[in-house]
């Protein structure tokens, strides 16, 4: 077990940075590309998780537990965001009978 849990001494920190960058970029592409609001919300979750992974990697690399505590705070924010976001989506479906993200354009003034 001790051998397994010391990956940071074998895998360089750069590879963790690359992995989280790729995951973050996939999240950005999904949020720009999809029209279904639920998928967009899931892509935002993916982006938050990429940031979490990087925080945990740097925390392990520096031997400082504060990074892992920050991951807990990000999880709290993500959970709150999902609760409110899904409530908004349920309301949007109830009023518009659709989850198309383009329907939110009518929130703006100039169309």
């Amino acid at each position: 077990m001790e051998k397994i849990t010391n990956a940071i001494q074998v895998v360089p920190i750069q590879h963790y940075i690359y992995l989280s960058l790729i995951l973050f970029t996939i999240g950005v592409i999904g949020a720009l590309m999809r029209r279904n609001s639920i998928i967009v919300l899931m892509c935002i979750e993916l982006m938050l998780n990429a940031a979490n992974l990087l925080l945990a990697a740097f925390s392990a690399y520096h031997g400082d537990p504060s990074g892992q505590v920050f991951v807990f705070f990000i999880m709290v924010v993500a959970a709150a965001e999902v609760a409110v976001g899904l409530a908004i989506l349920v309301m949007m479906k109830r009023n518009n009978h659709s989850l198309d993200i383009h329907l939110l354009n009518r929130l703006s003034d100039n169309n």
Partner: protein
């Protein structure tokens, strides 16, 4: 040893791509759950065991089940999404790729100094994390509880059926 890292990284990236590109929302949720499990494996590799357990409980156990609930509730488990134009899709992939390129180019100049900290094998366990959380971060901890309360009240008010309209 480092092979586990690369296998988990490949699983995470592939299932994230499946999540973005699959047409059925239920398949997207399943793929995202696989991504989260792979990330939990990364946490275990990083010697953050408590974080891995909490990640599995909160994300796969609570958040993704909530997503699945809403998808079932709104009767969306069909492929009825209107498609964006091809130009929009190409523009999205192009801008995402450019973002990745810029970040990678910026990181190429980065030199990371090796730290001389002794590796503490108990760092990711609940005892040490609790010490840090309740000593150094007690005010942010209380602030997050207020945030949770506000989010709970907000979600209930938003989800309430509007009696005056129907």
């Amino acid at each position: 040893m480092s092979l586990i890292f690369y296998i988990l990284a490949a699983i995470a990236i592939i299932s994230a791509l499946v999540m973005v590109f699959s047409k059925n929302p239920v398949n997207s949720v399943i793929a995202l759950i696989v991504t989260f499990l792979a990330i939990a494996g990364h946490y275990i590799l990083l010697n953050a065991q408590f974080l891995a357990v909490v990640h599995i409980i909160v994300y796969t156990g609570a958040i993704m089940v909530l997503f699945l609930f809403v998808i079932m509730l709104l009767d969306m488990n069909r492929e009825n999404e209107p498609h964006k134009k091809w130009t929009t899709k190409i523009a999205a992939v192009l801008s995402g790729g450019l973002l990745l390129l810029v970040l990678l180019a910026a990181l190429k100049k980065l030199t990371i100094m090796p730290t001389q900290h002794a590796v503490n094998n108990n760092m990711g366990l609940v005892h040490d994390l609790g010490q840090v959380l309740f000593k150094d971060f007690s005010l942010p901890f209380e602030a997050t509880s207020v945030l949770f309360l506000a989010a709970m009240v907000g979600a209930m008010i938003l989800g309430k059926q509007d009696k005056t309209k129907v």
